[in-house]
């Protein structure tokens, strides 16, 4: 009986040692390989400045009112994208859409309309240069301080209205409030100026847009 126990224990011991030796051998092999892998000249991790998240682009939507000269005021909506070049200057592109209403003449005369419905669609795009002329900070109640800027923009673009496209100059000013580093709230006033000869003689029209929007930096 005792012998049998001894034998069992011995077998187990031998098995265990064999397993242990196996593991050790494996470890040695592994370690040897590892030594070969790590070469003496350590590759230094280079910091790549491009890896830093740069947030110079801003994109968003706006909604407001545009007064289309002779064709009354209507709501306007669109998208606007900005590329910030420095803390002072930026490029901006907008696309917006609205619709011209009836002119006073059309309303009063009761005659046939001067434009058909599809020609009343008012679509514009423009590219502008902007200047953050009054950067600053806004304080609200006791807890809140938000970065802000008053900016001026000027640019050129095209307006599609009354069946034609018109070269359009736009001038404006806006105020932005940065709700966080990445979200801004804008209030904008823009004058879209173009010469239009829809009614015969060339006439310079001022189409003033008053809008508000939310943008996101990325």
């Amino acid at each position: 009986m005792e012998n049998r126990t001894k034998r069992v224990l011995l077998t187990r011991f031998l098995l265990a040692s064999a397993a242990l030796i196996g593991t050790l051998q494996f470890t040695t092999v592994y370690a040897k390989e590892a030594v070969q892998v790590i070469e003496p000249d350590i590759h230094r991790r280079q910091i790549k400045i491009d890896a830093i998240d740069s947030e110079n682009f801003e994109i968003g939507v706006f909604y407001g009112i545009i007064s289309i000269e002779d064709f009354s005021s209507n709501d306007v909506y669109g998208v606007r994208g900005t590329y910030h070049l420095t803390e002072d200057f930026f490029f901006e592109a907008s696309y917006g859409s609205s619709e011209g209403d009836l002119t006073s003449f059309e309303k009063l005369s009761g005659g046939s309309p001067l434009l058909n419905d599809s020609d009343r669609e008012y679509n514009f795009y423009d590219i502008s240069v902007g200047w953050n002329v009054l950067p600053g900070e806004v304080f609200i109640l006791e807890e809140y301080a938000f970065n802000s800027a008053l900016y001026l923009v000027a640019g050129i673009g095209s307006t599609e209205f009354a069946g034609d496209s018109w070269l359009t100059v736009n001038l404006g000013a806006g105020f932005k409030l940065l709700l966080s580093d990445a979200i801004a709230w804008h209030i904008d006033v823009r004058d879209h100026i173009f010469d239009r000869d829809t009614f015969g003689a060339d006439q310079t029209t001022h189409n003033i847009e008053f809008s508000t929007g939310i943008t996101v930096f990325f």
Binding site: A51, I52, D53, E87, N147, I156, D164, I183
Partner: protein, 281 residues
Amino acid sequence: MQNSDKHRESIFGLSIHLVFSLLVSLHSLNGYAESRFFGTEEIISVIVEQPYIEMRTGPGRGYPIFHIAERGDKVDIIKRRTDWFKVRTQAFGLLEKDRNSKLVPGSNTKTGWVHIDQIAKVLDGNQQPINISKPALNDFYQRSWEAGIMAGSFGGADEISLYGGYYFTKNISAEVTYSESFGDFSNGKAATLSIVHHPFPEWRYSPFFTLGGGTRQTDPKSNLVSTTDRTDDSVHVGLGVSVYITRRIMLRAQYKNHVVLTDRDDDEGVDEWKIGLSAFF
């Protein structure tokens, strides 16, 4: 009367409060969105080498300096906006009072904006200076993308153009241009594709030659009678110059001679002059 005024005031205050707490919670949501969608960028840890760097409350020269990180301090660079870097000082586990006057560990990090001139002198983890610089003339020589807006004249009509270009080599680039022209009797829209050769890419005033073709749509003015829109193919040759101005901005002036391949007996030659501003990357 006074009482009700006070009451109104407090309601007003409360509503402002509510709006802004909503905005603040938008804040944290925004943080989530950032990490969720723009999370591929790294946060880089650097060591301050100069006596100190100034941390401001906002990314602009006018924002107040509220904290400094001293030589030897480790800071994380979180993100960049134009010339400003948002950095966070690393915490050392000190206790600090939070909003409810509870002591919380490790929240004593400061986050602020540091100008590129100061960030440029920090060291990386191996005590090596890191290379941060403002975009300059050298980047102009090695640009691989450019995009811009131009204005000018297309055969006497006012014209505006948008374009984008990609450089295959320093000398050869391809460009896509969209133009709109506004004439007395007709408007035009054109899309063109060009191959551009830059013989001297390492000049500040870099000339180029261009060759390409495209399609042009002519819309006669709607107050003219019995005219229809027409679409023609066109080819062009041209030359111009790109001038580095500052940062990522260049001026570009060019002349192109277009030949519009009309259905009529004669093709139409049109001179186009344009000048504009572009950004390069």
